[in-house]
């Protein structure tokens, strides 16, 4: 069975069809996906801006991370849940869409980006977080994060344009 035909089967299961044909659920799930951007990407953006010392430069970046991340994680949980349901209900169209594929690739790369930060720079955070100059690696990670999230959002919008 090819991926495409599996997607066709998936979106035609009763629950997926129910979501797709629902006056209430589809708009609610899609609306939640978009508005939960504020609870996820919106918070990450603020943290990236802090890494670049563009916001809250006098506050400890580690403290901001500790205070903000507990709220961002459920936010991303909502994004993955609603995103998964949207894919479930439109699997075939999503899979065939170039914009969707780019979006998924970028999400993976964003995960890698976060992992690199976690492994390489987080352990030594107290050393560089109060200094005026930000380590080059941290700057790159923050800029990549901001840029890639913008493209992810744009791909999501352009994907809907195709459907």
């Amino acid at each position: 069975m090819s991926v495409l035909s599996w997607c066709h089967w998936l979106q035609n299961t009763p629950w997926a069809t129910g979501i797709r044909q629902s006056d209430l659920w589809f708009p609610f799930i899609e609306g939640s996906h978009i508005l939960a951007l504020s609870l996820s990407v919106g918070l990450i953006v603020m943290f990236d801006l802090r890494l670049l010392r563009l916001v809250l430069p006098a506050e400890s970046a580690a403290k901001i991370m500790r205070q903000v991340m507990p709220w961002a994680l459920p936010g991303f949980g909502i994004m993955f849940l609603t995103g998964g349901l949207l894919f479930f209900s439109q699997a075939e169209k999503a899979y065939a869409s170039g914009f969707f594929r780019v979006k998924m690739l970028l999400l993976v790369l964003l995960g890698v980006n976060a992992l690199v930060y976690q492994l390489k720079f987080y352990p030594s955070m107290t050393e560089w977080e109060s200094s005026e100059t930000v380590p080059r690696g941290v700057q790159v990670i923050a800029v990549v994060s901001l840029a890639f999230w913008m493209v992810v959002i744009a791909c999501g919008r352009l994907m809907a344009y195709e459907l």
Binding site: I34, S38, G42, A154
Partner: protein
Amino acid sequence: MSLQHLWQMSYDSHAIDILRNSKYAIPVIQSFHLFGITLLLGSMVLLNLRLSGIGLRQLPMATLSRQIWPWAIGGLLLAIASGFLVFVPDPARYAANYAFRTKMAALCVAVAFQFLIYRKVVRSGAAESGSRRNIVVACCSLVLWFLVGWAGRAIAFLG
């Protein structure tokens, strides 16, 4: 000059025609609208979590609001500018859409609330505590801004 005349000016305009007929222009502009919304609503989430005392308690309210407020305004301006560019090529359609009208009304209330009441509360000394008044103000702010967001989504679905 009636509204219909005003809208017709857009349909007659050659410059706006270019925007209207471009295949990708509107979706790209809508992406910028989403960037603005993400900045604005993300800022509102952070400020209101702190104001209500539910989260971010280790960050001082005064510093948080002073630093984040400009980004909230930036997001709002980006959303308004991009929204205007989506509206202008097809004003009659949007003006007749009930969800759009609701969104505009909610936007006015949210902006008024933010600039008149919210700013006063945040700048007062009492903003540090998670008092009941602060919780109510924080809830109102979030409800109003998310209402604008939901009304925006309803434009395509409810009409």
